[in-house]
């Protein structure tokens, strides 16, 4: 393969389409990710509550929901939701963009619900027992004792979910929603060049995901155990 034209083409495409990649592509990718993770978190919390409820039927329903969504490819879900939902909810006049966001959000909710459930269940059982024996009601125990500790487990995992979703939204390009991968399709469509725009897309994704994952990492370590020796030293301004 002849690579002599690779760099000139790369430069040419970047100088010609950088606005398309950054202003349209990156912007839409971030919007899509925010919408789907934010709504997915709300929906996922509800599913997690169902999954931990006392009723066996509710638990079963939530399990089916989570298993179906986690056990099928996201592209398949996108097709099904995109083509079927608008036919069911005909009274909802939503744009293409919103339907795809909703599809992604439903998918995200399944993963988030598991994150939240495992975060809550990872809190030591002794905490519940202690709180209950001190006379706190079930609700008080959850809100005052369990959730504050569970948040420590949940937040870093949610950060990872955000990074995951950022990459998953590339599937929205199936419907030319204007995300970064759509920019690639557009440029490929007019220029019939493939590797050059793909390289640009890869660099943009990395520029966003790498710092994000570093932040989530640091955050996660801090959250993991706020009273660890290391963190106390840091707080006190000491050196290791």
């Amino acid at each position: 393969m002849d690579f002599t034209l690779f760099l000139p083409n790369l430069a040419k495409i970047w100088s010609q389409y950088w606005k398309l990649f950054l202003f349209t592509g990156l912007k839409n990718t971030l919007i899509l990710t925010f919408i789907s993770v934010a709504l997915g978190t709300v929906l996922g919390t509800l599913v997690a509550m169902l999954k931990m409820s006392k009723s066996r039927i509710l638990r079963f329903i939530a399990s089916v929901y989570v298993e179906v969504l986690r056990g099928t490819p996201i592209l398949l879900q996108l097709y099904v939701f995109y083509f079927v939902l608008p036919n069911i909810f005909t009274f909802l006049k939503l744009s293409q963009f919103m339907w795809v966001s909703i599809s992604l959000c439903i998918n995200s909710s399944a993963y988030v619900s598991e994150v939240i459930r495992s975060g809550i269940q990872a809190v030591d059982k002794g905490q519940t027992e202690a709180a209950r024996s001190l006379g706190l009601s079930e609700g008080q125990t959850m809100v005052k004792i369990i959730l504050p500790q569970a948040v420590r487990n949940i937040l870093p995992a949610l950060g990872n979910e955000f990074i995951m979703m950022l990459k998953e939204t590339s599937l929205a390009s199936t419907f030319f929603l204007g995300d970064i991968m759509t920019s690639y399709l557009i440029v490929k469509g007019v220029s019939y060049l493939t590797l050059e725009p793909l390289t640009i897309v890869a660099i943009i994704y990395l520029c966003v995901t790498y710092p994000l994952s570093k932040i989530v990492d640091r955050f996660g370590k801090k959250m993991a155990n706020p009273n660890s020796y290391r963190n106390r030293k840091v707080k006190a301004g000491g050196k290791n």
Partner: protein
Amino acid sequence: MKKTVSMILAVLLMASLLVGCGSTSANTATTAATAETTAAAGTDAAAETTAAAAEIKTVTPGVLTVATSPDFAPMEFTDPTKQGQDMYVGFDITLAKYIAESLGLELQIMPMSFDACQTAVYAGTADMAASGFSWTEDRAQNYNTSDYYHAGDNEDEQVLITLASNGDKYATAEGLKGAKIGAQNASLQQSLATEQLPDSELVLFTDLGTGVLQLKNGDFDCIAVAKGNGDAIIANNPEIATSGFKFVVDEKYTGNVILLQKGNDGLTEAVNAALAASKDQWDTWYNEAKAISGIEISYDDQGNVAN
């Protein structure tokens, strides 16, 4: 109380899962295209013929939704300098505009991948798919297909493109014996290569951009493309040239069709009438589309990018 709330939530969740089983019938609002509107919109002979199709059903009343895969210059592609619906340009888009106008409907382009276009029509999300579809037996079974339309030399000439360094090596069927020919899956080029180059090895790819990359990479010796696509490819890839080989193209293959939902005969007739009326303009539209496609990047004699 708590239980009721969670019960409702559960039902909602189930509902959102079960929609997959729901009906796929489209919301068939009827738009009565009266003779007046049609006559007012269609400025030429089309008016009378179109008026005959009195009842036209569209997914959204008053709007003609067209699914297309805008990554296939010059048939349909995206102009990155424009915004919104204006972004979509190319022969099929011009044709869709004409059809919508002659039916007195507002045009809405729904961009999506090539596979998804067919699904969109099948599921009733879009009224029709215009994305350079060739007529095939299977498509005719599952969709209403319009009459043929021709886009300049895009379909009339089917050629092989190869690396320029190969010269005339693959200009004849003789030279192509044992060569690897790439063709897009489920395309006209696939059937042409199967029929006319039985001694060559046929390898399939999913989209043209990937095919070009594989050709440059040496996975194929040649790829089979429509002339128009080939020109756009060569314009941007100076290391690629036509091999000199041309397929014999049977008349039945030279046209494209528009896919519509099975049973929507009213709209199909109206589309056919608009096709018949616009015949004279096809070449102009095609040349216009070609003029704005694939020429963004040009090269000087040394193969360097010229600004």
